[in-house]
Amino acid sequence: MSDPARESETEAKARRGRNIALALGLFLFVVLIFVVTIVRLRENAIPAF
């Protein structure tokens, strides 16, 4: 009889997929904020940049 507390292979695969998607989302968010900051700095704070 299988242990109900143990994750099945399907569940583990789904969880891995969600974690990767979340990591990618967070990474893209950081990149996005960085790029937007640079663009706004070029437009406003350092026009001669």
């Binding site: 399907t10 569940e11 789904a14 969880r15 969600r18 998607a21 968010f29 996005l32 937007v36 663009v39």
Partner: protein, 322 residues
Amino acid sequence: MAMATAPSDTHAPARWQDFLQLLKPRVMSLVVFTGATGLVAADHPINPILAVVAILCIAVGAGASGALNMWYDADIDAKMRRTRGRPVPAGRVQGPDAAGLGVVLSLFSVMLMGMALNWLAAGLLAFTIVFYAVVYTMWLKRSTAQNIVIGGLAGALPPVIGWAAATGTAPLNAWLLCAIIFMWTPPHFWALSLYTTEDYARVGVPMMPVVRGAASTRRQILAYTAILVPLGIAPAFTGLGGLAYLAVSGLGGLMFLLLAVRLYRSHAGESPDPRTTDGLYDVKAGAKDARNLFAFSILYVTLLFATLLVEHVAGLPALHLL
């Protein structure tokens, strides 16, 4: 944000694709398209990166609305054929997770729009999300047959948001694009609901054909179309559309009107006559006319906005017929 799975003994575990499905990608693509048209039609210089960020914010905001809608409507979605496979009613994603995703993405999209572009665009985006998730989903949808008429404002605002993102203003031409989508929504949705009436009736959603009947719905579709067609042509008179736009909106409008008249004269949405429908694949009386109008309505709005987009990207001159 928690991403818990549904109980594994009864449902498949949540995959990342299920969370993506909560954002209603097909609706999102239309919103992105009309928002981008507003942004480009503004004819205002904008950093390309910031333009992409603005479109991303509009897309994520629309997705957040979709997630909140799927969370709140899970009970009725579970009873309708068209929606019972959605992640929440199917048990793949838990309601609170869908709500959490919607709230987080709403905050993210509005804050980023405000910080990267301007706070007028951010305010309009926040209004759109609240209007769709609260005013339409939680209030109008289940309480009045005018649900999609008033709620349609949420789907009509993206061109104004795009325009505001580019310029920091929302002039009359931006609201004209909003008005076109606003008046387009009732004929579009009611044509669909004329042949999906049974589903809405079963769950008690007061769609127009359920409450007022098919004949009244067909009459109102024709009335809204009669207002939509001149509105669709109007940008050629206000310095927004060019010659190509005038031709597309004129011919498209005529076709739209013709299909609306044919639908008005049909029996779409009425109970099928058992003497004429005896097979599983028989088309109900008049349903073909409703399907034709529904399909053409998508083509019509796509052509209108695509023509505007191309004209402004190509720098073609706008007409000033007024």
